[in-house]
């Protein structure tokens, strides 16, 4: 029987629903035994979600523990022979996965956004260029796959209906790993280049830029701005999208009242989906959008936020 392993980010100390969903996609309809590795975390919380939960002690929760964790997973892989090992596409996952793939000689498939199983094979869809080109990847015969998931693309549909067995395994080397965390501070000036979602204000928003923040928060994103707002002193240059600002590649770019000078558009080539909200449907940027909303950007942002909140409340009822 095929076996799939999910590894949760230690700092988060839980297996997130998207990992479970990805594991389900990997299994498809065929019989598949699902495993989770919990490194110094709460194994009991996973009861019912997977067939097997393995606990190992870890020398830490951050990057300093990665080499030891790689050895633990490799030992587990020797024992169970996983066909696929899944982990989040966070910075932590993107450091763990390549090392693990090197250790167990697996195919490394980063930032996967879709997994489809057919009779013969499993295929992984991932983005392969900054302008949004996608590729379908297969592993060669017999090679296990080490996969990181693009954040927020897999959403869970399963239930905790399994009988879970719990195993404990020895840790593989702790002690001084050679990396010590000295200080951790909140990144108060998050870089818009790192954002998955940007809600971006242009001249049509002007001084009301702060009113976009709640929508950006609800979408898990950040607020950015066009050059005109930076020039007017309304927004700082560090959040400016454009040739003299930053080149961005978010999954979603919501252009709120942005006309779309070519210097702005040049910095947007990597944006996957663009929604323009503008009173002028003939604003140049609208020509590049997937969707154009004709109307006042701030009012629309508030309406959309209300809708999102309503849905969320209904979902939790």
């Amino acid at each position: 029987m095929r076996r799939v392993l999910v590894i949760a980010e230690q700092a988060e100390a839980r297996v997130t629903p998207d990992l479970l969903e990805a594991a389900r996609c990997f299994a498809g309809d065929a019989p598949c035994e699902s495993f989770a590795l919990v490194a110094s975390g709460d194994a009991a919380a996973l009861s019912g979600w997977l067939d097997t939960v393995v606990s190992v002690p870890a020398p830490g929760t951050g990057v300093e523990a990665i080499p030891a964790l790689v050895r633990s997973v490799a030992a587990l892989h020797r024992e169970f022979g996983f066909a696929c090992i899944l982990m989040p596409g966070s910075q932590w996952g993107s450091m763990l996965a390549p090392r693990l793939a090197a250790r167990i000689e697996a195919a490394l498939i980063p930032e996967v956004r879709e997994i489809t199983r057919s009779e013969q094979s499993v295929r992984f869809l991932r983005r392969v260029s900054r302008n949004g080109d996608l590729a379908v990847i297969e592993t060669v015969e017999g090679a296990p796959a080490v996969v990181t998931l693009q954040p927020r693309v897999f959403s869970s549909s399963g239930k905790p209906d399994r009988t879970t067995r719990f195993l404990d395994r020895e840790g593989q080397g702790a002690g001084n790993s050679g990396i010590r965390l000295l200080r951790k501070t909140e990144n108060t000036e998050q870089d818009i280049r790192d954002a998955d979602v940007l809600v971006s204000a242009g001249a049509g928003v002007g001084r009301r830029i702060d009113e976009l923040k709640p929508l950006a928060d609800a979408l898990g994103g950040q607020v950015s701005a066009s050059r005109s707002l930076v020039n007017q002193g309304i927004a700082p240059r560090r959040i400016q999208v454009g040739q003299s600002g930053k080149t961005v590649a978010p999954r979603l770019y919501m252009a709120m009242g942005i006309h779309g000078a070519s210097q702005h558009v040049a910095a947007l080539a990597g944006a996957e989906t663009i929604i323009c909200v503008n009173t002028n449907a003939k604003a140049p940027l609208c020509s590049l959008a997937d969707m154009v909303v004709v109307g006042d950007a701030v009012a629309f942002a508030q309406d959309l936020l209300r809708k999102i909140k309503e849905e969320q409340e209904n979902a939790t009822d």
Partner: protein
């Protein structure tokens, strides 16, 4: 102190601060990823303050890169090692890591410097895989290095992700992955410098030196393959136009759900 920078040239036009490339002539030169350029720039900056520092730059390349290697030598690298062999074409990152690991076998180093990201904007896979093969630490996304505390035994660095800034002490040997955001730049040699002969500082390695069997490298050794490629083309999209009313909100909400953003 011995620093080794590793890099693999990329097609031009990948700097995150550049406009999309519209090539006029189809002979793109080998260029460095801006993160890699920062890594080399940092090593040369250390050498500028401490001239006894040995900076070797190792370039794994499929395209001609002699001009690039010479430029790096002219701005201060002690040696530039070019690894070029058609046998290695189509290698995956693990195979490339193995090639570099073998090239490093005969070389002493305190710290290996690399970039953090790939051309596509994802995390670079080669440096962590090399770290695993060499059994040393790897720390990427470095946005600043304490230059004064940088020594043959370790460094103090700051990394950045979306939510946090972290400060680490790292013992050497280790691989440090720099980010373009560190602000280090690889200088260009002046025009008049370009006449200076630096050939004695360029070392070319190929498979006669590294001795891989054909099945160990190239596409033959890759453990995954691309089945199909879907090219994105924004210009061809016809946008859906809605009004900013209740229906428009409904439609956008549905669209965001469909795209997995909500």
């Amino acid at each position: 102190m011995k620093l080794v920078c590793i890099t693999k040239p990329v097609p031009d036009g990948v700097s995150s601060d550049q406009e999309p490339q519209v090539p006029i002539r189809d002979t793109p030169a080998a260029r460095l990823h801006p993160d890699d350029a920062s890594a080399i720039g940092f090593a040369l900056e250390i050498k500028r303050h401490r001239p006894e520092t040995q900076v070797d730059v190792l370039i794994l390349t499929e395209k001609p890169a002699t001009a690039l290697a010479e430029d790096i030598a002219r701005v201060g690298a002690n040696r530039v090692i070019l690894i070029k062999n058609t046998l290695y074409q189509g290698s995956d990152s693990l195979t490339e890591a193995r090639i570099i690991a073998r090239a490093l076998e005969a070389r002493a180093y305190d710290c290996i410097l690399a970039g953090s990201q790939t051309v596509e904007g994802g995390a670079a896979c080669l440096p962590p895989q090399l770290a695993e093969l060499l059994e040393i630490n790897h720390l990427p996304f470095i946005r600043s290095v304490e230059e004064a505390a940088f020594s043959a035994t370790g460094a103090v660095v700051e990394t950045e992700d979306g939510a946090f800034v972290r400060r680490y002490a790292v013992d050497f040997p280790a691989i440090l992955g720099l980010s373009e955001r560190s602000g280090y730049r690889l200088p260009y040699p002046r025009l008049k410098e370009q006449r200076r002969d630096v050939s004695e500082r360029i070392v070319a390695l190929d498979n006669r030196d590294l001795k891989f069997a054909p099945e160990e490298v190239g596409a033959a050794a890759a453990s995954s393959r691309t089945v199909t490629l879907h090219a994105a083309n924004r210009q061809d999209r016809a946008p859906e136009i809605v009004d900013a009313d209740a229906m428009g909100v409904e439609r956008v909400h549905g669209f965001l759900k469909q795209r997995g953003i909500l």
